[in-house]
């Protein structure tokens, strides 16, 4: 009885080992792991990259839905091979630099600093997905007459109760709420700040549950929900150029990668991104469909 069992066990073990070796040999190519954050633009970029790479002989593997800090950790520790990051995020949050620079200088600075960590910044796109604060254009007495962040700061300092919908990260980042408060010289009362999932801030503002919402500049819902973006008159927010980040080793092993990603990067700007985001968030099309249509229309993949 036991002898039979042992024989069966050995046979299974040998079979498994053979299977693993064979599959290992067949798929000798290592996958390219694409990481991304959780909001629509990031999901679109991950999907577009995945489809683009697959059409060019690579094996993409997507890991989506991470917070910025987690994504950065994953890239630095080689758990992912690439992602699409924003220049300002790296400057202020990852590299802890507080001085503001032009978009070109911001890009140059993060490229230089991150190169030391083995992270290569490829060509930046023209899409600047900065943080912004938005209000409803009409029917809100709480924010009537407020068009700039200075005016907002003044109103809050003057004791006006203005509620703010933010995501989980913003109150914890130096280029987020703490930095904004310090820069404009005000303190938003804790009771007026409602934290929620990133995508829900738009709904909260539209449904009149808050007075101000944190938005991303290239989100299609700003136009669709008739929001007004408050002007950053003192230029607190840095430039946030959407750029591919790839680990140096991966780039060295796959030189074709740089060319492909740069080609995609060159096709993106604020309007294009807003349009693509709107198709997912407002028209409710799937991320896969929007990504595929875009790649085909830009002739990055064959029809």
């Amino acid at each position: 009885m036991i002898k039979k069992f042992c024989r069966l066990l050995t046979a299974t073990g040998v079979a498994l080992a053979a299977l693993v070796t064979l599959t290992g040999a067949a798929t000798a190519q290592t996958p390219i792991v694409i990481g991304s954050k959780g909001f629509t633009e990031q999901l679109l970029m991950a999907e577009m990259t995945s489809q683009l790479l697959a059409a060019n002989g690579f094996k993409p593997d997507k890991r989506t839905g991470m917070g910025s800090a987690v994504l950065r950790q994953a890239l630095e520790s080689a758990q992912i091979d690439m992602c699409w990051e924003y220049t300002g995020t790296s400057l202020i949050t990852y590299n802890k630099i507080s001085e503001r620079m032009s978009p070109a200088d911001t890009y140059a600075k993060v490229k230089e600093l991150d190169a030391k960590k083995g992270i290569v910044w490829l060509n930046p796109s023209k899409a600047n997905n900065t943080y912004a604060l938005a209000v409803r254009k009409k029917d809100n007495p709480a924010t009537a007459g407020i068009d700039t962040l200075s005016q907002l700061a003044a109103a809050i300092k003057g004791g006006k109760a203005i509620t703010f919908a933010v995501n989980a990260e913003f109150p914890g980042r130096p280029d987020g709420l703490p930095g904004l408060e310090q820069f404009y010289g005000f303190k938003w009362p804790l009771d007026d700040i409602k934290r929620m999932d990133t995508g829900l801030t738009y709904q909260a503002l539209r449904d009149k549950q808050v007075d101000v919402a944190l938005v991303f500049a290239t989100d299609g819902r700003i136009a669709a929900f008739d929001f007004q973006v408050l002007r950053d008159d003192k230029d607190f927010f840095p430039p946030y150029a959407l750029t591919p980040n790839v680990r140096k080793e991966v780039l060295d092993k796959n030189p074709k990668l740089a060319d492909l990603l740069n080609k995609l990067s060159a096709k993106l700007d604020d309007q294009t991104m807003a349009h693509l985001n709107a198709m997912v968030d407002v028209d409710k099309k799937s991320v896969e469909e929007v990504a595929a249509d875009f790649l085909r229309s830009q002739q990055l993949v064959a029809k």
Partner: protein
């Protein structure tokens, strides 16, 4: 006794790990935010548990009535859906109907924790020996009096066990309310995950867990005290 011993050992191990990992100062830093979020969190748990108890006990009693008993199992399966469907799905469904905010979160939490109460109420009442009911009827009690003075007191240990389970499930699930804008300690947990800040995460997770444990012990103690002596004697 062994429960208290093992609980204390676990608490000591946790405290040691936190201290050695240097996480304690970080957790302590979040104290103002914890205090700010604790009351909305308690409100979520309290109201949703209250709704679940009222609905669950009522459903359990109604289904145990002789004319409904045969269809009880089918109805139980219907209630079971609220429990089997993944919590996130229940929250998302509530959000799509009621919009974001604490109302949707309360409804979702209540729906998710109704089953243990309903099932235990039903089981407790139907477990009352037929001889006891007959004796009560023989003494001239009406159906209503039998329910109030015989069935429910006998079923109380089972009902309270169901309430205890439901409240612990509820307190454990409440952090997810953050995802649909329901607020509560989940804010700290999810912010901690996104910002890769273990201290922040724990500052949210530890009070939530303590709440679940406290509620469990509270209801457990209440159950011991509320069980009429005659029943306790019979159970023992």
């Amino acid at each position: 006794m062994s429960g208290i011993l093992s609980g204390t050992l676990v608490a000591i191990a946790l405290a040691l790990w936190l201290w050695l990992g240097g996480l304690l100062p970080g957790i302590w830093q979040q104290a103002p935010l914890v205090e700010h979020l604790l009351w909305p969190h308690l409100y979520l748990v309290a109201v949703s548990s209250g709704i679940a108890i009222v609905l669950g006990v009522s459903a359990g009693i109604v289904l145990s009535r002789p004319r409904f008993r045969d269809h009880a199992e089918a109805s139980m399966q219907a209630i079971n859906i609220g429990n089997t469907v993944p919590t996130l799905a229940v929250l998302a469904l509530a959000m799509s109907v009621l919009g974001i905010g604490s109302t949707a979160a309360i409804v979702a939490l209540a729906v998710h924790s109704v089953l243990p109460i309903a099932r235990n109420t039903f089981a407790g009442i139907t477990a009352v020996p037929a001889s006891t009911i007959e004796a009560a009827a023989g003494m001239g009690m009406t159906e209503g009096q039998i329910l109030r003075r015989v069935e429910i007191p006998n079923a109380l240990p089972a009902i309270l066990a169901g309430v205890r389970t439901a409240m612990v499930i509820n307190a454990g699930t409440a952090p997810l309310a953050f995802l649909i804008g329901g607020g509560g300690l989940g804010e700290l947990i999810f912010a901690g995950i996104d910002l890769f800040d273990p201290a922040m995460m724990l500052a949210g997770a530890i009070p939530s867990s303590l709440l679940a444990i406290a509620l469990g012990s509270l209801v457990g103690g209440l159950a011991k005290r509320m069980t009429p002596r005659g029943i306790a004697f019979a159970r023992a």
